[in-house]
Amino acid sequence: MSLGLIILIGLAYIGALFAVAYYGDQQAARGRNPIDSAFIYSLSLAVYCTAWTFYGSVGRAARTGVDFLPIYLGPTLMAALWWFVLRKIIRISKTYRITSIADFIASRYGKSTLLGGLVTLVAVLGITPYIALQLKAVSFSFFLLWHFPTLETPQLNAIPLGHDTGFYVALIMAAFAILFGARNLDATEQHEGLVLAIAFESTVKLGAFLAMGLFVVFGLFHGPTDLFTQAAQHPELRALFHFNPEPHAYENWFWLILLSMFAIMLLPRQFQMAVVENVSERHVETAVWLFPLYLLLINLFVFPIALAGRLLLAPQVSPDMYVLLLPLVEGRELLALLVFVGGLSAATGMIIVETVALSIMLSNDLIFPALLRSGVLHAEQDFPAFMLRLRRAAILGLILLGYLFFRVTGEAVSLVSIGLISFAAVAQFAPALLGGLYWKRGTRRGALLGLAVGFLLWAYTLPLPLLTDAGWFWPHLTQNGPWGLHWLRPHALFGMEGYAPVTHALFWSLSINTLLYIFGSLWDTQSVLEHRQAALFVDIFHHVARGEPPQFWRRDASPLDLQTLLERFVGHERAQAFLESYAHTRGVTDWNRLEPDADMIEAVERLLAGVVGVASARVAVASIVTEEPLDIAEIIHMLDETSQVVAYSRQLEQKSRELEAATAELREANRRLQELDRLKDEFISTITHELRTPLTAIRALTEILYDNPDLSAEQRRHFLEIATKEIERLSRLINQVLDYAKLESGTLEWDLKPLDLRQVVLDALEATRHLFEEQGIQIQSELMNQPPQLVADYDRLMQVVLNLLSNAAKFARSQVVIRMQAREDALCLAIQDDGPGIDPAYHDAIFERFSQIPSSSSQRPSGTGLGLPISRAIITHLGGRIWVESAAGEGATFIFCLPLSSSSPQEGSNQ
């Protein structure tokens, strides 16, 4: 293909990219945010798919079948966790103006410059080869397109610099990244134009790959069935339908999924797109499914293209170039150009975002803090301009470093392995970052230790053997181990052999990293600042509701120093605007009157953090601020205030619990009152009924006597006798009611004397003898001859015994047994009948006021229902106890026990 055409198309595409980015920045400048869309957010995340996806996936699929997939399945699984994890990271980053992953980790562990620097170093060392990989892919595809039909792979690093497309692409990309990623210093590091361009690139590469896939499946074959059927006829292709038969293939697969789950969160470009450039947390909700959908679509035709390549292309062709070669071989130059542009977009997207993200880390977390500390910077220097130059130099440096790496290594290192090595490098951030999100105890030293050792293990097990195998130095390291120590071979540490290098490296580096992070943290103490930062991060969602935890140190600065510092870093206008708005939130109209305290200094530090990074901002602020931890007395004072609040809220809780208990008691009392009221109503109706019966009889008799004056004396006497009996019954009833009322109100007179219970029982038996005789009931009494003496009221006790005896007479069938028994300190009397008995359910109820056993015994109970309650009231008053033992159908035994004279009856009995 003609060189001019390729260059024209390539430049036209890059021109379009500049136009899109320019349009995006213009829109943003006019106040319309062009990337405020979940769709564009999801597309911008697809910067994950690089030239490695575009060319390398097909290569991998052509060699090992479905093995290309775990790198995309992992992010899908991680996306499901974004709902919690990514949103938390975004919230934290927006709140504390964090602009890179190094900033994030440094900030979490007490704004540690050292940790931020280490993260930056790991990222730069891990990612630079990845940038080289992109340049290599561009260079490679360009030469292939140009020299076709020569299929010989060009010796890329032998091409003179001036003729290498990779070099020019590197320069153009540096220009783009500087223009749209580092044009001016912005406290939020949001680049609308850049994001829009990346979304555009994602669309182009997906479109190109899908077009290519459709062409292969439906243009070169008659649909997928035809393609797979043809492939199935070749045994070596049919083998690709199966899982990789190598040993430990499933373990390798698992670790690749895990690795890519970390990569999608931790790669600097992903952090830049997903967190720093995020416009709204709501966009994450859509991206959770839209981004995996993108991944699925771009992978859909990978395997078919790989099979088609193996079927149609010569076996010596590198499978990494199938995507480009297939349309060329078929004479579809336009499609080939589209594929080239797709690959270009995949590579440039990655390079641009990665270098912008890395340059922010380099300048904010490595170079700037070092310069600040060393005192090289002078006060009069224009900081924003200096930072920008630093940023731009970093971008250019990174891209050129990548290019240099590509030139130096050349063919020695294969495409896919470099990508995975970069993934494994950034995976070392996982324990510190993900652990720090949810575990407050994680400490700075724990994170440093884990990351440092993890990084060293990574370097020893992955990139080092790659370089020694290329024969640069230390030959035979992988075969024999260092200094002949066989068990230290980088691909088989401690004899762990047979795994893919990445699996092996990940296992050792990640597990040791995690363990050191955990153990280092558990055997460490946190500084005040670390503790506070941990709480700010882990509890980010609580602070919205409860406010931030109090400052545990005193910081002072002169207002003038603070203002000068602000102006140096953000310029005069923004400094003024910030101070005014801050004064407003503190309720002060004139910011000049603000007395800089810990809160204000923290606000200033946060603003600066957005511009120069968390660690740098801390160093810068520390230069003008005197700070000391609050002394013990002050902390105790604050704690006192807090604990008073806590105590007060506890009291409130206690009160409300008490209130609840009181309410329950009241409710219960009310229930009992209602029950009593009901019982009283019933009682009154019973009583009036009882009163009416004798009254009716008396009235009838007296009327007869009145109307019939000629009645015989005999009859007259008979009627009067009946009337007298009825009147007696009536008065007895009224006496009982009065007795009970007196007992209840405590106005009854008691005449307490020593007495003999045996005598009481004998008197009562004498009084009721005719009752028993009438009914033909036998009485068997087992009374003691010399019972101990009691102190009691004779009449009242008599009333109780009479009551029990008349009850027994009423219910017994043939026999009543009276037993007297002396216990340790009480004298008991039991009266047993052989009547129908009482159901245990009513044993308590029969002693209740006004209650009678419901007519289970079929006959209507006679009496007032007051006999037993009166008995109980008397016995209780005398300090004793009365109860019944019975089962339905087996007779009943009423027993009362009275205390012997030593234990006197209740106090105050003679009121």
Binding site: G65, V66, F84, H242, F243, W253, F254, W289, L296
Partner: protein
Amino acid sequence: MNRQRLIGQRLVALAIVGVLLFNYPILALFDQDRTVLGIPMLYLYLFLAWAALIWLMAFLIERG
């Protein structure tokens, strides 16, 4: 807010299902020498399971 937490927890549950579906031994069940409509079983399974997972996530978030 509770609803948001519920969706998040359902997504975590889906992720756990995904981990199971995309790994040994379930993956090995589909590593058969069979084709469905000419498409290899393993390849078809991976993409169908993947698509189903994405569809479920979309359904949960957009409509659930």
